[in-house]
């Protein structure tokens, strides 16, 4: 996690540096009065490097990705919820012995 974090910070720094050099390049072009067609080749290379580093950090920093397939081992539906809206209370549990000790203590508010 530490390495990925450092790589991510480095990638962002490289991207910021590429943006700054593009702005400086445009300033130079304004002085020379030429059209701004695109950033110079080294800035493009720097952008690609920053992209690669940031992507690597984005995949390495989060510890575990969640599964999205519905039939994967974690996500497959095992049972339906027990339809509690239609729950009825006169089942065989009525004849089980009740523990009369546990009670709700009287609350003061």
């Amino acid at each position: 996690m530490g390495v990925g974090f450092v790589v991510g910070v480095l990638g962002c720094a490289i991207l910021v540096h590429a943006a700054y050099s593009t702005i400086q390049y445009r300033g130079v072009l304004k002085i020379v009065e030429e059209e701004f067609s695109g950033p110079p080749m080294n800035v493009v290379a720097e952008l690609l490097l920053g992209l690669a580093l940031c992507m690597w950090a984005g995949l390495a920093v989060p510890t575990k990705f969640l599964s999205i397939l519905p039939d994967s081992e974690e996500n497959r539906i095992v049972s339906l919820p027990a339809n509690l809206d239609f729950m009825i209370f006169n089942h065989r549990g009525k004849v089980l012995p009740t523990n009369t000790e546990l009670k709700l203590k009287v609350q003061d508010f």
Partner: protein, 260 residues
């Protein structure tokens, strides 16, 4: 819809809580989220939180939800005194609330006082004629009294108004299956599959109803739905796998094929 990982987490929390480790509030929240019916455990551990003023104050606003959950669990375990105390506490805090009124009517149901519960629901429904939970409790009461045809009538009328309620469709399908009215049950399961096509258990139930109905076309359709269940569960649902094997078997008699 309870996924495999969620069920494993629920079991793990349950064993942890039973053996005295912490995490009681987490367990209760998970039971509420998954709508599992673990009334005894909820009651025991919920009461342990509610009786301890320190942990109760730590819950903040959630303690009322816990009161409701413990009240329903108490009714399910037939500890009616505890339920009455919880509901009294809730009604002191939220006087005249519909939700608390519903809990009181449910307590009457749990006591077996059907007429009083009817009157209570009728009174609540006068003020709130479109409350879904109230209509569903009427159905449950009819079912509890053994009056299944009345339950079916109520449920059909409810579904005419609230057609998107898949819990109600599921309940109706199960009632029809218990009455052996398989065509109607198949219709209900078809509605369920239409609204939620990615839940494999509806496909499985539909396939089972078709298999029970019998006849060549139904068996072929059942085979398709068993196959789609296997597809949606990644092959881990044993019942669907068994169903596919069983559906092949009657084909020997209807087609006269040699076993292939």
């Amino acid at each position: 819809m309870v996924g495999a990982a969620e069920e494993a987490q629920l079991n793990r929390l349950e064993s942890q809580v039973d053996n005295g480790g912490g995490g009681v509030w987490e367990y209760l929240c998970l039971v509420r989220k998954l709508k599992a019916r673990r009334s005894e455990k909820v009651l025991k551990h919920g009461l342990s939180i509610l009786n301890d003023p320190k942990s109760r104050s730590r819950l903040g606003g959630d303690e009322w939800t816990l009161y409701e959950q413990v009240a329903i669990a108490a009714m399910d375990c037939q500890w009616l005194d505890v339920a009455k105390d919880c509901i009294a506490t809730l009604s002191k805090k939220f006087t005249g609330s519909l939700r608390v009124g519903r809990l009181e009517a449910m307590l009457l149901e749990a006591k077996g006082a059907w007429a009083d519960a009817e009157k209570a629901y009728a009174r609540l429904l006068e003020d709130n004629p479109l409350d879904q939970a109230m209509h569903k409790r009427k159905v449950a009461m009819a079912k509890a009294q053994g009056n299944i045809s009345a339950a079916v009538d109520f449920l059909n009328k409810y579904l005419e108004i609230f057609m998107a309620d898949h819990d109600a469709w599921r309940e109706l399908a199960e009632i029809y299956v218990s009455l052996q009215m398989y065509k109607q049950a198949a219709f209900c399961y078809e509605e369920l599959i239409l609204s939620q096509p990615t839940v494999p258990l509806y496909h499985l139930a539909y396939a089972e109803v078709l298999y029970t109905m019998g006849g060549l076309e139904n068996l072929q359709a059942a085979k398709k739905y068993y196959a789609s269940t296997i597809n949606l569960t990644g092959g881990k649902n044993t019942r669907a796998l068994y169903g596919v094997c069983l559906v092949r078997y009657p084909g020997y008699f209807t087609h006269g094929f040699s076993p292939s």
